[in-house]
């Protein structure tokens, strides 16, 4: 009982602190600072993409390669080998186009993840409020002159479930919050591998 109460308190406190700082999003549940979008320059120091590279990035072959590289289950050694193969007859424009295609695969996926985490944060806050309301109601029912024990039992069961869901979600939060970073790491590693072939 004390554990989940502590959890709710922490959650509410965290939301309170976050709310005090306008630069923070109160719905954001992670320790990591919310960064809604990744920008190409964070993972790439080569030439900036232009219309010509954008056209090459739309080429089915480049898009297929980008889609292959982006998959996290593909080991980096394999990804590097495919990049080296591509780089054999690719100029800087083609390399930039490949990076641009990789980035445009990873960025939307990451943004969708960030939105999902924010929704997760909001629903967790709502749940914390509901748990507090249920506890208040329980106290009220128990304090009645002639307590309705059936109502108390029903309320207690509902409260148990809410607490369980709240705690389970809180425990998986660490992993959930790590996922955007894993995508950033992939983009950075691919950026470094592609940039190593710039002439």
């Amino acid at each position: 009982m004390r554990n989940w109460l502590f959890g709710v308190a922490i959650w509410t406190a965290a939301a309170g602190i976050a709310g005090a700082q306008p630069a923070h999003d109160p719905t954001w549940p992670c320790i990591q600072r919310k960064q809604p979008h990744l920008s190409l320059g964070q993972v790439w120091t080569g030439p900036q993409p232009d219309d010509a590279t954008a056209a090459i990035a739309r080429d089915p072959e480049v898009r297929r390669l980008a889609a292959y590289l982006e998959q996290r289950r593909v080991p980096m050694e394999d990804a590097e080998a495919r990049i080296t193969e591509f780089a054999e007859d690719a100029d800087n424009q083609h390399l930039t186009a490949l990076m641009s295609a990789v980035f445009h695969q990873i960025e939307p996926e990451r943004s969708a993840l960030i939105d999902g985490i924010a929704r997760y944060g909001t629903s967790q806050q709502d749940l914390a409020k509901r748990i507090e309301a249920r506890r208040a109601k329980m106290e009220e029912l128990e304090a009645a002159a002639s307590p309705d024990f059936d109502a108390i039992d029903a309320e207690e069961e509902a409260l148990d479930w809410d607490e369980r869901i709240f705690t389970d979600r809180r425990q998986s939060l660490t992993y959930v919050c790590e996922t955007p970073i894993i995508l950033e790491q992939r983009a950075f590693a691919l950026g470094r591998a592609i940039a190593s072939h710039l002439k």
Binding site: A20, Q21, A23, Q35, G41, E184, Q185, F188
Partner: protein, 323 residues
């Protein structure tokens, strides 16, 4: 051509004996310290040090390594040669960053959770004072003459000037949002305070405590919110200032005279803190999200190597030359 300065440095290093220094990197997530050799740039070893190590410093004589182990709410002291724990020093809850007096004593510790700076005698291990500061104290700096200690508070957005004799705050300077780090240049004429959310570095005149310049950063292709200045280091001659820009994955190089930006160097992901070798030939950066350390050639401004370390490297310190 680019490798010439490094090659020259290596030749010099082999000609002059005992040029290698140990580099200590605190890994926030893997709860250990990675030790590197500044000469070979190879990992010497990895040693467990306690829960969530962040701030890291070494005594001027190189005999004691201090580590803020934030989740243990304590400072642990290690023998830098053997990495055996010697003793602990008291701090408040969640110590994050600290600074040593230039003489090596005392140690000034920012405790993020209780709005206090703890002053600890490194010889007697006694707590000398607790100084109330702003909300979420974070960055710590000390003037070269040791007379003033600076603390920055994340939420109050201030740099507090503390008299190191009386432990009283004698001035406050309002800076941009979430100040993270405070660093003096070596003649004490400028104080640099980085603001993580504000995205700026305030240049403060320590005699008037007024902001004389504000450095702003702009990197093509990088969204402004990804530019989050954290660690700051200044060369001994004051000519170059290095600023770690967090998730922009770059270190900005600034002209220490004009406060103009000279260059941006791509290092690793979420670059956080930095440390020079004693001869200032290399600058090491901790890159928290790519789990590596970058070595920058200070003269040529080239990133010469990335070295994989533990999980989420946070702080870095280089041992002084053997005495």
């Amino acid at each position: 051509m680019n490798h010439l300065p490094l090659a020259a440095a290596l030749i010099l290093a082999t000609a002059v004996p005992a040029a290698a220094n140990r580099v200590f990197v605190s890994n926030e997530k893997s709860n250990d310290v990675t030790v590197l050799d500044s000469d070979t740039l190879e990992v010497i070893g990895t040693y467990p040090v306690g829960n969530r190590p962040r701030g890291i410093a070494i005594s001027p004589d190189g005999s004691e390594l201090y580590i803020c182990v934030s989740d243990d709410n304590i400072v642990r002291v290690f023998d830098p040669e053997t990495m055996e724990e010697l003793h602990t020093l008291p701090s408040g809850p969640d110590p994050e960053l600290f600074v040593l007096h230039p003489s090596g004593n005392p140690l000034y510790i920012a405790n993020e959770d209780d709005n206090l700076v703890t002053v600890v005698d490194t010889q007697t291990h006694e707590r000398l004072a607790e100084i109330p500061v702003g909300v979420e104290p974070e960055g710590m700096g000390v003037s070269p003459d040791g007379k003033t200690v600076i603390n920055t508070s994340e939420t109050t957005n201030m740099a507090h000037f503390i008299d190191s004799e009386t432990f009283e705050i004698y001035a406050n300077t309002l800076v941009d949002s979430r100040p993270r780090f405070a660093e003096y240049n070596h003649d004490g004429s400028k104080l640099y305070v980085s603001s993580e959310i504000g995205g700026t570095v305030s240049v403060i005149d320590p005699t008037t405590q007024q902001i004389v310049d504000k450095i702003e950063f702009e990197i093509p292709g990088v969204l402004p919110e990804a530019i989050q200045p954290v660690g700051v280091r200044v060369t001994n001659d004051g000519s170059k200032v290095f600023v770690a820009l967090g998730p922009a994955n770059r270190v900005a190089v600034i002209d220490g005279e004009t406060d103009e930006i000279i260059d941006y160097l791509l290092v690793g992901q979420r670059v956080w803190q930095m440390a020079f070798t004693p001869d200032e030939s290399l600058l090491f950066t901790t890159n928290g999200n790519s789990n590596d350390v970058s070595a920058i050639d200070v003269e040529s401004l080239e990133v010469v190597k990335s070295i994989q370390v533990g999980q989420q490297p946070w702080g870095v310190v280089v041992a002084p030359d053997a005495q």
